[in-house]
């Protein structure tokens, strides 16, 4: 069926991040066009801002973190994920070179200055979770929002941080230059399992419930486009991916980019479906650290609508 | 005759004076600053077509009185009335030639004069034509396109004069209008002023330091005492016949008698002023 709405406004917080690679692929490969869509991608300074754009009505669909749908459900905003893009968070905790030797277990994070993308963000949450598993509280470490990717690198290189919880490509860059030692790695299945005991949904495509009801075909078309990108990524080599994305994305260093792609590749979803255990583990983590969510009762079935992903698996070849 | 009117001014049924300061006193300062009582309660009336000159030692309160008559200063006590009506706010009937420069620096001489008419609704082209004429009358035809800062002190004063006179206000308040002019230009301007005054009988309140000028031009010369709490200490009617020729009248023996009388009064005052102190 043809989409009811051809022009779709899509929002994303940091389009160039590898976290959102499927989006860039779908755009560059023309997968949206194939679906008869004209997608305008707006880039925001963070996932929170793109979600605000969606709620405010200036966006139709957003690629962002899954946890946002839970938060919104708790706040009575009916926002639903329709497709999983990343199945592992892709967040990595690294310890700075100087502290690497003395680091034995997450217990040693106690008292450290830990850089996170932003206070309260998922990078922060992950460290909280890590600390909690060791019986520590978030107050046992100090968190510093380091903001943009550049600032993060600067902060580690200047020795202002003892540890960092961040995403690609910052991690690959710091890892390759030997500035950090990776201690927790949710880019891989093992790493994620070790931490969460299962997969843990990261980036998803989410929309408002109203939008689903009103424009189901449009939602399907967007889902199809991204689903196709996911399938494409599974088969593509890092070199092929590097050749597809805009040249500026290559970090001025193709090999670094390819390394980062290689490291992230396992994180991209294969089925586009979020597992129930993943939903639950995310919700449990949020409940543990966010006082606002502690008392909340979110029906997790409302946070993910699997119809579109399932349909996409049927129609997309 | 002018003089007759002046004498009639308190007669019952007579026209109300153009400007009447009744028991007006003025104080500066207040609030956090010390109060300086510049003018003690003073009464001064200027009849409808009367030409009154004010003389007095420097700093006695002449400009202050003019400001009160213009409605720029609120008296501490007493009342100001204009043609019998109490003055509330600015005195819309008066044209005021300030002691300081008051031209708009962003307008040329011509524009400065023309604006005085345009404000009243006269069409711009017409206002400019009249302004040009007036600049000619004050001897500045050739300086029409100069901005104030490109004019000499005396030239600026004359532009100001044209600006005030072009409106033909019913009341003229003039604060040392001819101060920065040479004696000859002064006489030419004085004659111009008298002509205008004779033509449409304005009430004029004229501050000057030149006693001869005061006597040559005015119907009455008022002498102020030195401040603080300045008062009017002399009021001389100038009974020289009209029309007067400003340069010739000085030769009149009556002129000399008047001059001598007023001067002696004034001099004593100035000597006092010299040691004068604020309260």
């Amino acid at each position: 069926q043809a989409p009811e709405k051809k022009d779709v406004k899509l929002g994303v917080g940091g389009k160039a991040l590898l976290y959102y690679l499927p989006l860039t692929i779908a755009e560059r490969k023309g997968f949206f066009k194939e679906q008869g869509l004209d997608v305008e991608i707006s880039d925001f300074a963070g996932g929170a801002k793109s979600l605000q754009g969606l709620i405010g009505g200036s966006l139709d669909v957003v690629t962002g973190a899954y946890e946002h749908t839970i938060r919104m459900q708790a706040k009575g905003q009916d926002i639903r994920a329709v497709l999983e893009l990343g199945r592992f968070p892709g967040i990595v905790v690294g310890v700075a070179k100087a502290k690497a030797d003395s680091y034995k277990s997450p217990k040693d994070l106690k008292g450290m200055k830990i850089g996170v993308t932003a206070p309260g963000s998922s990078t922060n949450m992950l460290v909280n979770f890590l600390l909690a598993k060791e019986g520590l509280t978030p107050q046992d470490a100090s968190f510093i929002g380091v903001g943009s990717a550049q600032s993060a690198v600067a902060a580690i290189k200047n020795g202002q941080l003892d540890a960092i919880s961040h995403l690609e490509p910052v991690i690959s860059m710091l890892e390759r230059s030997g500035d950090i030692k990776v201690v927790v790695d949710t880019r891989t299945e093992e790493g994620t399992k070790a931490l969460f005991g299962g997969s843990n949904p990261a980036a998803v495509l989410y929309v408002k419930k109203d939008f689903i009801d009103k424009y189901p075909n449009t939602v399907q078309a967007v889902t199809n486009g991204l689903y196709k990108a996911l399938q494409w990524i599974q088969k593509a080599s890092p070199e092929e991916i590097a050749a597809t994305v805009p040249e500026e994305y290559l970090l001025g260093d193709k090999s670094l980019y390819e390394l980062a792609v290689k490291n992230s590749k396992p994180t991209y979803s294969q089925t586009g479906l979020i597992s129930e255990s993943g939903m639950k583990s995310t919700y449990d983590m949020l409940k543990q650290f966010d006082p606002e969510l502690k008392e909340s009762k979110v029906n997790l079935a409302d946070t993910f609508d699997p119809r579109f992903a399932k349909k996409a698996a049927e129609v997309v070849k | 005759m002018v003089v007759l009117r002046v004498i009639e001014r308190d007669a019952p049924g007579a026209k109300p004076p153009a400007v009447a300061l009744e028991g007006v006193s003025i104080a500066y300062g207040g609030g956090s600053q010390p109060v300086y009582e510049a003018v003690a309660p003073t009464t001064l009336r200027v009849a409808e077509s009367e030409f009154v000159a004010i003389v007095g030692p420097t700093g006695c309160g002449k400009s202050t009185l003019l400001n009160a008559a213009a409605g720029l200063l609120k008296p501490a006590s007493g009342a100001v009335s204009i043609f019998g009506e109490p003055l509330a706010g600015l005195n819309g009937k008066a044209g005021y030639l300030f002691q300081q420069d008051a031209l708009m620096p962003w307008k040329t001489a011509l524009e400065n004069v023309a604006i005085a008419l345009e404000v009243g609704g006269v069409a711009s082209s017409d206002a400019r034509k009249q302004a040009k004429e007036w600049l000619g009358r004050v001897g500045l035809a050739a300086f029409a396109d100069r901005y104030p800062h490109q004019l000499s002190g005396g030239q600026r004063k004359r532009v100001g004069l044209a600006q005030v006179l072009i409106r033909h206000p019913k009341i003229l308040l003039m604060d040392e209008p001819f101060g920065p002019l040479d004696a000859q230009t002064r006489q030419i301007m004085g004659t111009l002023l008298l002509e205008l005054w004779a033509a449409d009988r304005k009430a004029v309140l004229f501050v000057t330091h030149d006693l001869e000028e005061a006597i040559a031009l005015a119907d009455r010369v008022v002498i102020m005492s030195c401040g603080p709490k300045a008062r009017i200490i002399g009021d001389h009617t100038i009974d020289l016949p009209r029309p007067r020729d400003v340069s010739e009248v000085r030769l009149d023996p009556r002129f000399h008698a008047l001059h001598k009388a007023i001067w002696s009064e004034l001099r004593d005052e100035v000597v006092k002023a010299y040691g004068g102190a604020p309260a």
Binding site: G46, A48, L51, Q52, I55, G56, R71, M72, K75, Q77, K113, A118, P119, G120, S121, N124, S142, F143, I144, G145, V146, G147, S148, Q150, S151, A154, A155, N158, Q160, L161, D290, E292 | G31, G71, L72, K74, A88, G89, L90
Partner: protein, 261 residues
């Protein structure tokens, strides 16, 4: 207007704003909220949150950090702006040569500069101060520059003929004459100093009001965001009040504006 009456009016204005806010965010008009709670919170909640923040005591640490950043940014930026403003105004050649560069510098988006400041100055307060300085500096600079050029030429000529050297001219002529220009720019830049500090914290920090706001924003806690902004605003009033105090002391010589008759 008397002080109590003025205060009454001000309170009235605040009350009206709060009322509109309250109604807009809690009473649906034609099915939609004028000020959706998701974006605006409600005044009651914000006030409650402010209360909680202060009661909890945690806020003082953040406040004091932001305050010191703001004050430092304000001081450094305005002193720099004054010095450069005077220097440029007194050296027309320097001014002419550097003019385009100053204007270019003023157009650089500060948000983009943040990583560079962080690189040079670290994650502590100084990178935030630097951000505030880049805002304050230009505002003060342009005004002081103009203020010096507006000095009455007669007063200046008189002072120079008295034999004043550059330093004396500065102290006795340029400085007092440019003061009202400077203070005008200071009133603007108090706010900008705070904005700079908060934006700096927002872009990367471990504490401060900007950090709090950012944290709240990350978890869609609008109430927290608004509480932070209200505290900020109260804050700036306090600094501005200090500036006004100094202004009134330095500008005693000015004629009171004529009471309009």
């Amino acid at each position: 207007m008397s002080r109590p009456k003025l205060l009454a009016w001000q309170v009235l204005v605040a009350a009206i704003v709060l009322l509109i806010w309250h109604i807009g965010s809690t009473v649906p008009i034609g099915g939609t909220y004028l000020l959706p709670k998701f974006f605006f919170s409600t005044p009651g909640e914000v006030i409650a949150r402010i209360w909680k923040l202060f009661a909890g005591g945690q806020i003082w640490k953040h406040l004091s950090i932001t305050l010191s950043e703001t004050v430092l940014a304000f001081l450094i930026g305005s002193v720099g702006g004054v010095l450069f403003g005077f220097w440029f105004a007194r050296k027309p050649t320097v001014a002419a040569v550097f003019d385009p560069y100053v204007k270019m510098a003023n157009a650089l988006p500060r948000v983009v500069l943040a990583p560079i400041f962080m690189l040079w100055l670290g994650l502590g307060i100084w990178s935030k101060v630097a951000l505030g300085v880049t805002l304050v500096f230009f505002i003060v600079f342009f005004n002081v520059y103009q203020g010096v050029k507006e000095v009455s030429s007669v007063v200046l000529a008189n002072a120079r003929l008295m034999g004043m050297n550059e330093r004396q001219l500065f102290r006795h002529v340029y400085w007092p004459s440019a003061l009202s220009w400077m203070f005008s720019s200071l009133h603007t830049s108090v706010g900008f100093a705070l904005v700079g500090a908060v934006v700096g914290e927002y872009l990367g920090s471990a504490a401060g009001l900007g950090y709090l706001i950012h944290e709240a924003e990350g978890v869609f806690d609008v109430t927290g965001v608004f509480a932070g902004m209200v505290i900020l605003a109260a804050f700036v009033l306090f600094i501005d009040w200090l500036v006004t105090l100094i202004e009134n002391r330095l500008l005693v010589w000015r004629p009171q504006p004529a009471s309009q008759a």
